[in-house]
C-alpha cells in the first residue's frame, strides 16, 4: 500500500500547527526584535483556557455549541496573558539591552508552566480534552480524523485573516510601518505602543486556535505541551524567514513535512537504517534548517522589511 499521500497529509497537519504558533514568534520579532520564548506557554494556556470552558459548560453540550465557545475562551485567556506579559514584563525593559527581555521571556515561560502545573486542578499529569464525535473521513488513500478537520480549516482561515489584517487595515499598515522604523512611524502619528500590544495579542490568538487544534488532535493538554512545540515553531519561523508572516506558515509546513518524511522514509535508504525513525526526525529537521540557512541566511522568504542595521 502506498502510504506517501497519507504521510504528506500527516506532515501538512503537523506543519499547520507549527505555523499557527510560529506567526506569533515572527510578528513580535518583526516589530520589536524580541524572541518571545514565553510564546509556547501562551499557546499552552490557550489550551487550558479551552478546557476550562468545556468543564464549565453543562455536561451533554454538543461539540457544535461548545467548540466556538472553547475557541473564544482559549483566545481570551491567551491574549490576556500575552498582553499582560507585554505590559508588565516586556514594556518596562524596552530600550534596555536586548538580552534583558529575552531572559525575562525564559523566566516567564517557566513561571507560566509551573503556575499551571501547581494551580490548575489535576494538571500534574495530562488532562483529557473533549473530542469531536464521528469516525475518520476516508478520501481515497488518505484518512483524516475528525479532530484534524478543525486544523485543516482553521489554519488557512487564520492565515487569510492575518494577511488581510496586516495588508489591508489601518492598524495593519501601522504594524508594517512600526516594523520598518519605529521612530519614523511614531513621527507619522502611529501609536507604536498600541501596535506592539496588538502584535502580541494577534500572535497569542493564533496560538490559542493552534492549542484548540492540538487538544482536538491529540486528545490531551498538559502543562509542558508548549515547550517543545514552541521550540519547533520558533525553528519554523527562522526557517521561513523570521519577521515574515507568510514565511512562518510556509516554514511550519516545510518543517512538519520534513519531520514526517524523515520518520517514514529515512530508514528505508540503504545504509541509513540506524539514522531513521522518529527519534531521528528532529535531527533531520535541524539538518534541513542548517542547509536552508547556509544557502539563504534570511530564511526561505527572507525578511520583507528593510534591515535596520
Amino acid at each position: 500500500m502506498n502510504e506517501l499521500p497519507q504521510q504528506l497529509v500527516n506532515g501538512l497537519l503537523l506543519g499547520s500547527m507549527y505555523g499557527l504558533v510560529a506567526v506569533g514568534y515572527t510578528m513580535v520579532y518583526g516589530i520589536v526584535q524580541l524572541i518571545n520564548f514565553a510564546h509556547g506557554e501562551i499557546f499552552m494556556t490557550g489550551g487550558f483556557g479551552a478546557l476550562t470552558v468545556w468543564l464549565i459548560l453543562p455536561g451533554g453540550t454538543t461539540m457544535w455549541v461548545a467548540l466556538p465557545l472553547m475557541i473564544i475562551g482559549a483566545v481570551l485567556v491567551a491574549t490576556t496573558i500575552a498582553v499582560g506579559a507585554e505590559r508588565l514584563a516586556y514594556r518596562p525593559l524596552r530600550g534596555g539591552p536586548r538580552l534583558a527581555p529575552l531572559i525575562t521571556a525564559i523566566g516567564l515561560s517557566l513561571a507560566l508552566q509551573q503556575a499551571v502545573w501547581a494551580f490548575y486542578p489535576e494538571a500534574k499529569s495530562a488532562r483529557t480534552f473533549p473530542q469531536i464525535p464521528g469516525g475518520p473521513i476516508e478520501l481515497g488513500p488518505v484518512t483524516i480524523q475528525t479532530g484534524d478537520v478543525f486544523l485543516l480549516v482553521a489554519a488557512p482561515v487564520c492565515m487569510a485573516f492575518l494577511a488581510f489584517f496586516v495588508m489591508r487595515t489601518r492598524t495593519g499598515r501601522g504594524m508594517q510601518a512600526t516594523a520598518q522604523d519605529p521612530d519614523t512611524a511614531k513621527l507619522m502619528g502611529v501609536n507604536t505602543d498600541r501596535i506592539i500590544v496588538i502584535a502580541f495579542a494577534l500572535g497569542a490568538a493564533m496560538a490559542a486556535v493552534g492549542a484548540v487544534a492540538y487538544g482536538l488532535k491529540y486528545g490531551v493538554v498538559d502543562y509542558k505541551m508548549g515547550f517543545l512545540l514552541g521550540l519547533k515553531a520558533f525553528t519554523a519561523a527562522v526557517l521561513g524567514g523570521i519577521g515574515n508572516i507568510y514565511g512562518a506558515m510556509i516554514g511550519g509546513v516545510v518543517l512538519g513535512i520534513a519531520e514526517t518524511m524523515a520518520t517514514a522514509y529515512v530508514s528505508h535508504i540503504p545504509g541509513m537504517d540506524q539514522l531513521g525513525g522518529q527519534s531521528w526526525a528532529d535531527v533531520w529537521a535541524f539538518v534541513l534548517l542548517i542547509v536552508v540557512l547556509l544557502a539563504r541566511p534570511q530564511g526561505l522568504l527572507g525578511e520583507r522589511v528593510a534591515d535596520r542595521a
Binding site: 529575552l102 525564559i106 500534574k124 480524523q145
Partner: protein, 410 residues
C-alpha cells in the same frame, strides 16, 4: 547584519539557558540527628519521579515506602532505631537521579535507598551508591543489564555493583513472557515493534523481538520514537500499511497512550502490547478507553489485590488515606523498603545492637528473606529478586484486568 548575528547569539544563549533549567535546585539540609530517648534515627532515602508525567507511579512508590517506614516504627521492629523516610524527586531524569544519589551519600544517617523507577536513572546512580557502599533496592527497574552486566544476553552475566538490588523481575523474562502470550494465546503473528530508545524501552523491545521471532512470528516493521513529542501520525501510518496485527511498545505510558490512540485512529486493526510501564490507568486515559480496549500489558508479579499476602498492605494503605493510588509498584516499593529495614535489623543485631556501618547493611541485604506484600522476597547472586512471577493484563471496559499469571520458563 548586526541583527542577524545578535539573533544567532541570543538563540545560542537561550538554548544553553533552556538546558540549564533542567537542573534541579539544591537545598542543603543537614543529616538527621540522633532521635530522642536514646533512639537512633536511621534515614531511608527514596528516589522516584514525584513530579512530571511519571509522577503517578512515583508517588505510589513514595506512599508505599512511607507506609513501610511507619509500620516499622509503630511495631518498633528494630530495637533502638527509628526510621525516617527522605524523598527526593528525580523527575525521571538520570542527571537529577545522580544528584540525588550524591545527596543521599553525603547524609550520614542514610543507610539504604529505595528507588528509582526508571532503569535509565538507575544507571546514573549505581556507581555513586556502590562507591559509598550504600545499599539500593529498586522496586521497578526491569532492565537486565543493571544487575547482570551489559553482556547478559550472550550469557556472560556479571554483576557490576554489589550494592544494587531489586524486587522487580527483569525484562529478560518480561519481554519473552509477553511474546509467548501474544504468539501462543492471542494468536498474533505479525508484529510491529516500537521503542522509545531509553534503557528500559529498548531493552524490553529487544527481548520481545528475540522470543517472538524464535517462536515463528514475523516482525513486519520497527520504529524508534521520541517520547517527548505527541505527534506519532507518521508512525501510525506506517503501522497501518505494514499489515501488522500486533504492536509491541517498549516504553512508558506518557508516550504509549497517545501512540496507541493515534495508531488506532489511523485505522490499523492491531492490539497494542507493552510492559509494566504502560500498566497504569493513565495509559487507558491517554489512549482513550474505546481505543485502548483489548490492549495488553505485562507486569511484574501477580496483581496484589489477589494476593493473600497483600491484604494487610491494602488495608493499611487505605487507612493512611494517601491522596494517590499505590499504582503498579506500590507493593514492590513496600517490599523494597522492608528489605532495607530487615537488612538494618540483621546488621544491627550482628553489631551488638548498635547501628552498623553502610557496608554491613549491603552484606546483610544479600541474605535477607521474608514474606512480603508481593510474596517471598529474597535476592539471587546478581541482586535480582528470586520471585519471577509475571501477569498479563488486558484492557476491558476501560481498565486493566488480570488475565493470566505465571512464571516464564525457557
Amino acid at each position: 547584519m548586526r541583527n542577524r548575528s545578535l539573533l544567532i547569539l541570543t538563540t545560542a544563549v537561550t538554548a544553553g539557558a533552556l538546558t540549564l533549567t533542567a537542573c534541579g535546585s539544591r537545598d542543603d539540609k543537614g543529616g538527621a540527628e540522633n532521635g530522642d530517648g536514646g533512639n537512633v534515627t536511621v534515614t531511608i532515602g527514596l528516589d522516584a519521579p514525584l513530579t512530571g508525567e511519571l509522577s503517578a507511579l512515583g508517588l505510589g512508590i513514595k506512599n508505599s515506602a512511607d507506609l513501610a517506614v511507619k509500620t516499622a516504627n509503630k511495631k518498633s521492629y528494630v530495637k533502638g532505631v527509628t526510621f525516617k523516610l527522605e524523598s527526593l524527586d528525580d523527575q525521571a531524569q538520570p542527571s537529577s537521579g545522580q544528584q540525588n544519589a550524591t545527596k543521599f551519600v553525603a547524609d550520614k544517617s542514610v543507610l539504604g535507598v529505595v528507588g528509582p523507577l526508571n532503569s535509565g536513572v538507575a544507571e546514573s546512580m549505581q556507581k555513586v551508591f556502590d562507591d559509598a557502599k550504600l545499599v539500593q533496592v529498586s522496586p521497578a527497574n526491569t532492565n537486565p543489564s543493571l544487575s547482570q552486566g551489559i553482556n547478559w544476553s550472550t550469557g556472560e552475566k556479571k554483576r557490576g555493583y554489589k550494592s544494587y538490588f531489586r524486587t522487580a523481575t527483569t525484562d529478560a523474562i518480561q519481554g519473552p513472557f509477553a511474546a509467548q502470550y501474544v504468539f501462543k494465546e492471542a494468536k498474533k503473528t505479525k508484529a510491529f515493534i516500537i521503542d522509545d530508545k531509553k534503557t528500559y524501552g529498548a531493552g524490553l523491545a529487544g527481548t520481545f523481538k528475540g522470543e517472538f521471532e524464535k517462536l515463528g512470528g514475523k516482525v513486519v516493521g520497527t520504529q524508534h520514537i521520541n517520547p517527548d513529542t505527541k505527534d506519532f501520525s507518521a508512525v501510525a501510518t506506517q503501522v497501518k500499511s505494514s499489515g501488522a496485527d500486533v504492536v509491541y511498545y517498549g516504553g512508558e505510558y506518557p508516550a504509549g497512550g497517545p501512540l496507541a490512540k493515534q495508531i488506532k485512529a489511523a485505522g490499523a486493526k492491531v492490539t497494542v502490547v507493552g510492559g509494566d510501564a504502560i500498566f497504569s490507568p493513565e495509559y487507558v486515559k491517554l489512549a482513550s478507553p474505546a481505543a485502548a480496549d483489548g490492549d495488553i500489558a505485562t507486569s511484574v508479579g501477580a496483581p496484589i489485590e489477589s494476593l493473600p499476602s497483600a491484604k494487610e498492605f491494602l488495608a493499611n494503605y487505605k487507612a493512611e488515606n494517601y491522596k494517590e493510588a499505590y499504582e503498579a509498584y506500590g507493593g514492590y516499593a513496600y517490599d523494597s523498603t522492608w528489605a532495607i529495614i530487615e537488612a538494618v535489623k540483621k546488621a544491627t543485631e550482628g553489631n551488638g545492637g548498635k547501628v552498623p556501618e553502610r557496608a554491613k547493611v549491603v552484606e546483610a541485604m544479600q541474605g535477607v528473606s521474608f514474606e512480603g506484600v508481593t510474596g517471598s522476597v529474597a535476592f539471587d547472586e546478581f541482586g535480582d529478586t528470586t520471585n519471577k512471577q509475571l501477569t498479563v493484563y488486558k484492557v476491558e471496559g476501560g481498565a486493566f484486568k488480570p488475565v493470566k499469571s505465571g512464571t516464564f520458563g525457557g
